[in-house]
């Protein structure tokens, strides 16, 4: 039985806790939050779990196999270093870090302590994307040549997370990081990054519409585009829509969890790849909720077998390099190479003309 401590009991942590509750051989024994009201709520839902106001106290008193860190990015480095020093393994929410320096320091700290580290990068664990990956790996499409990865919506994400309005680095950091990880997952490492950013909603400080062009090793070109200001009825949020073309065929992940595969002279194949709705969840969040269960099961499998998690800290460094290369490109108006990951100071933002 793995003993777990969870740090952070906010908005998204509920998914983690509910998912742990349904996984065999694990037990959340302690939770930690700066806010006593949140601790009380967690204690009510999970009787017997001990609550702590700070991580140091929790680590001193509990014997934990691993700690699941579900806080905002700026707090990650200090927490990961404390947990690693205490000898426990670490899961850390995304975005992993606000800078590559922090991310590298966390990877190094866990390596020194000899503890596994996984970033809770859950998009690639969404059922539709796992099914799409299987199609690519089956060879049915031939070698990938092109992809478009699209996440455009106008769901009011600011109501639940008002701090997003103030973020200088908004959409790439919040959802772009997921989509760039999906691009790596499906098409391999990216060699160049070109990025354009826009600020459409006058209430936001950062970029809320982004178009990124990637060139992957092996030659495929992909477009990764996302927006928080795209009006569609019905709104596909939170679905990622993907088209991948290979030399022999095309696979499309369409709205409503429809996976279509065609080309190569065989009949068009259409499949429903909607994930199940967890007992504690509901539509349309089940896509995310199911992916949280899947990634946390993956972590347990890796702990049991000694394998490296698919989204280990070391792996996630490559995704973060793309994030910072995208900001760099947007501010430099040029193509950033993945190796040249100097931080841009501000994203290029331009209002569509005509606004006030």
């Amino acid at each position: 039985m793995y003993q777990i401590g969870v740090v952070g009991c906010g908005f998204f942590a509920r998914n983690h806790l509910e998912a742990w509750g349904g996984i065999d051989d694990v037990s959340v024994v302690a939770v930690c939050d700066l806010d006593p009201a949140r601790l009380d709520r967690a204690a009510t839902r999970w009787p017997g779990v001990r609550g702590y106001p700070d991580a140091a106290g929790m680590l001193a008193r509990e014997r934990l196999d691993f700690v699941d860190i579900v806080t905002a990015a700026p707090s990650h480095r200090a927490l990961v270093e404390q947990v690693a020093a205490a000898g426990a393994a670490v899961i850390c929410q995304k975005p992993f870090a606000p800078s590559l320096e922090d991310a590298r320091a966390m990877v190094a700290a866990c390596a020194r302590a000899g503890v596994p580290l996984m970033v809770h990068e859950n998009f690639r664990f969404q059922r539709p994307i796992l099914e799409l990956k299987k199609v690519v790996e089956s060879g049915r499409l031939g070698a990938p040549t092109y992809a478009r990865i699209r996440f455009r919506h106008a769901c009011d994400i600011y109501a639940g997370q008002p701090y997003l309005l103030e973020e200088e680095r908004l959409a790439i950091m919040d959802v772009g990081v997921h989509l760039l990880d999906v691009a790596r997952f499906l098409l391999g490492e990216a060699e160049t990054v070109f990025c354009r950013t826009q600020r459409i909603d006058p209430r936001v400080a950062g970029e809320d519409s982004v178009s990124i062009t990637l060139e992957h090793e092996g030659g495929a070109v992909s477009l990764v585009d996302f927006s928080f200001a795209t009006i569609q009825e019905p709104d596909p949020f939170p679905q990622t829509l993907i088209r991948i073309e290979g030399e022999r065929g095309t696979a499309q992940l369409l709205e409503g969890y429809r996976l279509e595969v065609s080309g190569g002279g065989v009949p068009i194949e259409v499949r429903d790849v909607e994930p199940p709705v967890p007992a504690w969840g509901g539509r349309p969040w089940h896509l995310i909720e199911d992916s949280v269960i899947t990634i946390q099961r993956h972590w347990i499998d890796c702990l049991k077998t000694g394998r490296e998690p698919a989204t280990s800290g070391a792996d996630n460094l490559k995704t973060l390099e793309l994030v910072f290369a995208a900001y760099d490109s947007a501010s430099a108006r040029g193509t950033a190479h993945q190796s040249a990951s100097a931080l841009g100071t501000a994203s290029e933002s331009a209002r569509a003309g005509g606004g006030a």
Partner: protein
């Protein structure tokens, strides 16, 4: 019969659409057709009731047309336009206007009479309707477009010379989409482009991914491919997502135009209304040829500048050059019209 007297030079593959469309254009008729191949000229003459010629210079001298429709490949557009200028004849010229922008500038330099490029995508009914909605404020201020034209249709079978060209899909097809991007979102500040040689046996690029920043601040993506394996194949349809601060328009397969607003989605049928002679697979293109030619005649008769005048098309051509420059440099390039 009244109206303007026209001549068609070049009676090959695509010119068949021009010839058939001229029969339906109001305000003009074709009096002469010209091709180096006498058999092709005779066939065109039989189709239109015009006189057949095999030499352009003597055709101009003998027929004294009001305008000439140059429907040849781009390599001989310049000498034919020069001949038309010498005879003081207005010109409608097929796209691409010329193999490179220097030639375009030379043609515009010696041309004094009206000149229009037969840039027909923006005259396709779905695109006319899409632009009409945008102009009417259906999406508010546009900020984004994704323009897709990806097919497995064998373009080289009908036009074998395409396998030999160094500049393949951007100059042949991308040029239309760049013009559509200008049509919908206005002129372009800079362009980024990645190309791939995805067609075995073809020298040039058969697929491209472009990212444009418009002067308005809007961003558009243009993706085109001749090597996409998909069913149903949307050829020859252009599929578009266009977004503004108050709504979106999606031009989908089979001429379905969706208008998305908050809380409401409306679907419009924007299928082409093809002329009687159209082939079902080519109806979209053939109707646009008729629309393009009618626009040219309407402009000639009223003295208006055509939408796709030579001067306007120079801006589209500058995007083609900037796209190839970006494909080579890896950086965004500024178009220089």
């Amino acid at each position: 019969m009244s109206g303007l007297r026209g001549a068609v030079i070049g009676c090959g593959f695509f010119a068949q659409n021009h010839l058939k469309a001229w029969r339906d254009v109001e305000g003009a008729r074709i009096v002469a057709v010209c091709d180096l191949d006498p058999a092709r000229a005779e066939a065109a003459a039989a189709l239109t009731g015009a006189r057949a010629h095999s030499d352009a210079a003597s055709m101009f001298a003998e027929e004294k047309p009001d305008f000439v429709d140059i429907a040849t490949t781009m390599e001989i557009h310049e000498p034919l336009a020069r001949l038309a200028a010498r005879h003081d004849v207005a010109v409608i010229c097929q796209k691409p206007f010329a193999p490179d922008i220097e030639t375009v500038r030379r043609i515009l330099g010696f041309t004094r009479r009206p000149i229009m490029v037969h840039e027909n995508f923006r005259f396709q009914r779905p695109l006319i309707e899409l632009e009409r909605h945008v102009r009417a404020g259906a999406v508010g201020t546009p900020f984004f477009a994704h323009i897709s034209w990806r097919t497995g249709y064998d373009v080289v079978a009908g036009q074998p010379y395409l396998a030999e060209v160094e500049r393949f899909i951007i100059l042949d097809l991308g040029i239309h989409l760049l013009d559509v991007a200008r049509f919908l979102l206005g002129d372009v500040a800079d362009i980024h482009c990645r190309t791939r040689r995805t067609m075995p046996g073809a020298k040039g690029e058969a697929s491209a991914v472009l990212s444009l920043r418009h002067l308005s601040g809007a961003v558009s993506q243009i993706v085109c491919s001749y090597t996409t394996r998909i069913e149903p194949d949307p050829f020859p349809q252009t599929l578009i997502e266009l977004e503004g601060d108050r709504g979106s328009l999606h031009l989908r397969h089979d001429y379905r135009l969706e208008h998305h607003e908050r809380g409401r989605m409306t679907v419009h049928d924007v299928a082409p209304r093809p002329p009687a002679w159209a082939d079902p697979q080519w109806a979209l293109v053939q109707e646009s040829v008729l629309n393009t030619q009618q626009h040219w005649i309407d402009c000639l008769r009223s003295g208006r500048e055509p939408q796709t005048s030579g001067a306007d098309n120079l801006k589209t051509f500058a995007l083609v050059e900037a796209a190839y420059a970006s494909a080579a440099s890896g950086r965004a390039e500024v178009p220089e019209a």
